[in-house]
Structure formats: C-alpha cells, structure tokens
C-alpha cells in the first residue's frame, strides 16, 4: 500500500505558515486515498509558489512555464491516457497568464484535474494583485486599490459548462483531499479552486478571514446538478463562502473523442506507421 510518505519530495521553500503546506498534504492524501502509485501520476505545474509543488512531491512531474499547465497536461494525457494527470497552478498562473487555456481546456474536457492555489495574490513576485484579488486591495502596483472586478473562477467554469467545479480550503485538509480525490475520479476536466492563504502578501484574506466565512455545501440542501442554481451559488462571496462541489455533470472526455486512442495509449503503440497505409497515401499523389 502506498502512503503519504511515498509521495514525499524535496525540502520546501515556502514561508512558514503558508497555506500551500495544507495543499501539499491534501494532494498527497488524495492520491493515497485513491491508491495511486507515484509512477502512475503526472503532475504538471506552472510557475509561482504553487509551481514549486513538483519539487516537493515524488511522482512524474513537468514543471512548465507560468500560465502553461493545462495544454501540456492535455498533450501528455492524450499521449498516455493511462496516467493520472494533475495540473497545479496559482491564481495568477491559471486565471491570469493562463486564462485562455482555462477557458478552452474546460471546453476540450481532457480527463485532468486542475488544482488552483488561489491565494488572491501574486505570491512569488511579491504581492501584486491577482485576477481574484478582492476589490480595494492595495499593493505596490495597485496603489489605489484593486478596481478590476474580481474573477469568479467557479462562475466562469460553470458558464463554460465545466464537468466538475469545486472549491476547497487549504485550512481543511480532510475536506480538501476528499474534494481532490473526487475531482480525480471525475472523468473529464475537473476544477478544484482552493482558498490558500498567503501569510506574507495577502493581509486581507488571511487564514482567520477564510475560517470565519467558509462553510460546506451539504448534500441535503444542495445538489450540484443544476447549472443555473450552481451559477447562483457560485456568486456567494463575502460573509459566507461555500466550499464543496458546486456543479457536476458527466459527458465524454477529450480522450473519448480521439479515435486514435482506441488501440491503447499512443505512447505505448508501436513507433512505426504501417507501410501498407503509407504506400497507399503515396499512391494518392500518383
């Protein structure tokens, strides 16, 4: 049996008290829960504090560029759909620099899990506003406070009919890890947006701030199958912040739509194209 230790990587370089520690533990726990072995998992990351996760985990990893997590994860999944592919990114990474891939990744629906370390700030570059920063937050660059309407990742994902839309909190590792496990099990693109306090640069949305506000969607009151209701729920932000699965629907994944994958993972198929077929192609030009 695998244990959390099997996924243990190198020394962390995050700040003491950072919300990312909870995320790291939750990711490992989720993988253990699902009985995944390190070599079965591919973690694709962007650049940012979240982008350091690959160095602190033990599994296959591809530490990509800032904002570029979803496309390489999609390509890798298409090449070897036997892999469990996780993409991890920051809020700037995923919703800012990588925003276009977020939209179209959802539309394409590869069976990958997008885990977003949403600390509502640019951590690694020392505290500029991110797309999810709350209105009015002041930084060195946003000296009059943020005035751009904060991006609501859940509402955005629901508007794109994303198959699995959820929010976790790095302060609740149990809940978060079970969310991540659910997201991995969901066939198709799944989003886990995580409230992850940055204890250094985000003095507004602190652990305490989140803790006082978060509550879990309960199975009895809320069912994640109605898109409009999910949209409405996703707008809730402020005094109360819901956690859990906001929206879920099933449907064919990207890989399901690729006939070439019918014969098994592309990466495991033989390298030589059929000579007979090639000859036929050549003859079409004769």
């Amino acid at each position: 049996m695998v244990s959390v230790d099997d996924f243990r990587g190198g020394e962390t370089a995050w700040c003491p008290g950072c919300g990312n520690f909870g995320v790291l533990m939750a990711v490992k726990t989720a993988l253990v829960k699902l009985g995944k072995m390190p070599h079965e998992v591919l973690l694709v990351s962007g650049i940012g504090q979240s982008g350091k996760l690959p160095h602190y985990m033990k599994c296959n990893t591809f530490n990509s560029l800032h904002g570029r997590t979803i496309p390489p994860a999609t390509g890798a999944k298409a090449a070897n759909h036997g892999l469990t592919v996780l993409a991890v990114g920051g809020d700037g990474d995923t919703y800012g620099e990588g925003g276009n891939h977020f939209i179209h990744g959802i539309r394409r629906n590869p069976d990958i899990t997008m885990i977003v370390h949403n600390n509502q700030i640019y951590g690694l570059t020392k505290g500029q506003a991110s797309p999810t920063s709350d209105l009015g937050m002041k930084t060195k660059v946003q000296s009059h406070g943020v005035f751009e309407t904060p991006l609501n990742p859940l509402a955005l994902a629901i508007s794109l009919d994303c198959g699995f839309v959820s929010r976790g909190f790095s302060g609740d590792i149990n809940h978060l890890s079970s969310l991540i496990a659910k997201a991995i099990k969901h066939k198709g693109f799944s989003l886990v947006d995580m409230l992850q306090p940055c204890v250094i640069f985000n003095r507004l949305n602190t652990f305490k701030w989140y803790k006082e506000r978060v509550y879990k969607l309960s199975d009895s009151d809320y069912s994640p199958d109605d898109r409009t209701a999910a949209f409405e729920k996703s707008l809730e932000w402020g005094d109360k912040i819901p956690l859990g699965v906001f929206y879920e629907r099933s449907g064919p994944s990207f890989e399901d739509n690729l006939p070439a994958l019918a014969d098994g993972a592309l990466a495991k198929q033989i390298n030589h194209p059929d000579a007979g077929t090639l000859n036929k192609l050549i003859e079409m030009f004769m």
Binding site: P54, A78, N271, P273, I282, M286
Partner: protein, 575 residues
Amino acid sequence: MIDTVDVGIKIGGAAGQGIQTIGAVLSKTFQRGGLYVFGVQHYYSRVRGGHNFFYARISNKPIYAMRERVNLLIALDHASIDEHLGELERGVVVVDRDSVKVDSESESLFHVPLKSIADDVGGSQLYANTVATGAVLGLLCYPFDILSDVLSQTFKKKGDAVVEKNIASARAGYDYAQKNFPGRCPIMLEPVEKPNSRMLITGNEAVGLGALAAGLKFLSAYPMTPSTGVMNYVASKADSLGVVVEQAEDEISAITMAVGASFAGVRSMTTTSGGGFSLMVEALGLAGMTETPIVIFLCQRPGPATGLPTMTEQGDLEFALHAAQGEFPRCVLAPKTADDAFYITSKAFNIADKYQIPVFILSDQYLADSVFTCERFDLDQIKIERYLMKDAELEGADYMRYKFTKSGISPRALPGTAGVLVVADSDEHDEAGHINESVENRVAMSDKRMGKLSLLRKEMSLPAVYGPAHAPLTLIGWGSTYGPLKEAVDILKAEGVDVNLISFNEIYPLPIKKINKILERAEKTVSIENNATGQFARVLKAELGFTVSHSILKYDGRPFTPEYIVRELSKMVVV
C-alpha cells in the same frame, strides 16, 4: 534526342472561380501522361473575388521552377488580360468573351463560350471550368482519355452523374477548341509513352506525409496561412494512421500541448507561420530547457506583423535562430523542394529525438503551395529512431532525466511507462530534474545542453553543389529558392557562363570547417534570398566569418524566377 517540350499555362480569375480545380486537373492530366509538371499558386487573403492565378509549367524533362513566359492563358476574369497578356509568348488566350469583356483584338485571343457550352452540355454554368480544361487540352492536342480518367477520379465522390457531366463538358470544350482554333494545335504537348512512378505533390503535403512516415502521433496547431495545409493534410489521414490532430485555442496552447505529448512519449509537431510562431517563442525555450523533442513547422510569409498573408518570403530565418530568452541548442532545416521536404521532415523527427531539442522545418508559402513532380518517395530511406531507454534498462535503475553524460544527451525514459519517475523542469535543474541554482550545476548543465549542438553540428549534411566544383561565379541560396537558382544556373550555362550553385537545406548548426572548405573554393559569390536584408548571408558571416561578395534580395512577396535571377546577375556585371 527528343525535343524539349516546355509549356507555361496560366489560369487567372477571381477567388471562388475554381482556378485551383482547373489547375489541379490539368496538372494531374499532364503528370499521368508522363510529363513533368511544376505549379505555383498566387492568391490573396479573400475567399471570393480579387485576382488569383495558378501557373503550371509542363515539360518532358525535370523542372524545378516556374518561368515568366506564358504559352497558354485561361482568362476567367478581366484582370487576367490586364495583368498577364504581356507575359504571353507565341501563345493563346482562352477567354469567354461573353462574360469577360475584352477590347483588345489581339490575334492570340481565342474565344470559347465556356458558360454557354457548360449550360448546354452540363446543364449548369458551374461546368465552365471543366469546359475550359477541355479546351486547353484540345488546343494542345493532348489525348482526351487521360483527362477523362482524371475527371472520373476527381469527381468520383460526387456520384456518376457529376462525373459524366464533367466528362461531357470537357469533351465539348476539347472539341470546340480542336474545331474552332484557326490552324489546329498551336502548341503540342504529347504524353510520354513509358509509365512512370512519379508523384505530384505540394510542399505542404510532402511535409505532412513526411511527418506521418516518421511516426507522427500528435499534431496540435492553430490555423495560419500558409502553414494550414500541413494540418489539413495530416487531419485528413489521421484516422488511417492513428494520429491525434487537435486545433488549439491559440499558438501557445498548440506548442505546449505538443511539448506535453512529446514529454509523455509520442512524436509531436506543431505547424504555424511567423505570427503564430511569435507566440510559441517562450515554449520553444521550454522545450530547450526541459530537453523535450519537438518539431516546429514554420512556414514563412512576408512580415512584419500580418504583412502579406498569402505571399512568400524568407524573412524568419534569424528569428528562428535566435527566438527565446537564454541559450540552448536547436536545429533549423529548410527544405528545397517537395521531395526534400518529405525526407528532411522525417530527419527532423530523428534529430529531435536523438538530441532532445526543438527542430524547425523552415518552409515558405512558395514551397508550401507549389506543386512538384517528384520520384515516388522511398519509404526505405525513412528510419525511425526514438532513442528511448528500454524497459529492461530501467529495471531497478535510479533514473535521472538529466544525467550528465559525455555526449550531453541524457538517456530518455517516459513517464508512466516503466515504473520510473520522470522529472522535468523549466528552471535550471540538477540531474534529477529539480531546481538547482548553484554555480557549478548551472555551468555543467549549460555545457551539457550546448554540447549537444557541437555533436549535432558534425552530423549536419553539407550543402549541395550544383554545377562544376570550381567556378568563377558561385550562387548561394537556401531552402525553397533552390529550384529557380538551379534553373538560372542552367540558363547561364547554356549562355556559356561558368557558374555553380551552393544550396543549403540544413541551415543550423552549420558544420563550420567543412563548409568553409567548400566556400573557400568560391571566387565571386552572390547570395540570393527572398528577403530584404540578406539574413542567410549574415548568418554565414556570423557563424563562419564568410562574407559574400554580392547579393540579390527580393522582398516583394513573390518568388524568384530563373529569369529574374539571370537579369539581376547581368545588371550586377558579375556575369
């Protein structure tokens, strides 16, 4: 000795008038008759209207370029008369004067009532193109049955009725020409008896076919003229060879998807033109740093920015050579012709896999869209070498993705296929793939990566020398200008000029010493490029310290013709 047959046919008209269909049918018909065909497309960035043309040159000897003279002009619009009548050399213009009003009473004008014949015979003016095709072959006294075969094949999918109407329309055009042209057969074009195994293929199709033959499994791209043909071709054949073709939301996604697929183990490619490649630059460096093989098909068109989106230029060479921050090895190949494109594409994949680097196939609109007659591609020449570790080698190994080796090439394993962990990093990293910023590691890793370049350099093929090994005048070209340059040399030779041609298709890294040996022999050198600043000449200077003595630069969006080169050379008084 057989007489040389050499005929230029131009079909001019608006976008949407079916010029390409006429061109394709004619080309195929001549090729089936054992003749050599070379075809060029000229079009604009619009779907209907404007003035486009297709130019086909037909000969009984191998040909590699278009010529400026036209022997037969099919004028589907008035602009064809305005723009191309002057190009006519002892030739005939086929024109439907009922629809194209022409003032001129030039003797070369031959009225064929295309539309009314089409209406009569095919029941619709839509067949006017086929009537024109028939008329051309009638004028050339070319056997009708070859055309009828080609038409059957071309329209097979649309059903028997359509095939029959096309054949009847063609026949009517053919007969009309034979009957009405004053003095039959103004130009003769006879099929060659012996059967041949030649192909008629565009540069783009050849790249696509080359990639498929090399075992391409994943192509992600965003459409961009003139590169799209490769994506279209591969998509049309993807099912038969189990290939994934995915249209990305943008070029950043296109290349990074391909990089991800390659990392996970399959041969991957992306196709684009300069504007799209601009967006791929950061990911080029990602491939460089993570040492992930990737083939980039970069099909040049005139810039800057949107530029002349449907025309040709060789303006992106230095851009491809220097794109992305930092320093890492890359390889640039620039095919000369369609068959070269086929073989060089398959080579690109082997180089990418062997050295774990990005490899460019640098083409241009001229090569991409032109139709070449090639000998049947030889699949035996295609060797697929993946340079991957075998599962047995990995058993129990403490695998490190970036292991230091003498060659700088680290053994490559794939994630998820052999139980080992594959760790790749865009930061500077240690052998295990984890971030490491020490002085020692940085220098060692940089040396490791750049060392691969020296190795690759030794493996690069030398440029071909056409003509005598020594000559007082040496033309230098690269990529697609090969055809016009070769023919320019032929013309000059016929005029008694002692000249040779050095044509490069493996552009970077250059095997410096060996090339210097070749260039040392040269006296007067003229670098001939389809750009405004002489980029390749500058590369020769920067890389080899070699300075060309003269240059001919063309940057009007149009390809070279042999005649143009000869004219410019004589202006320079170097000839």
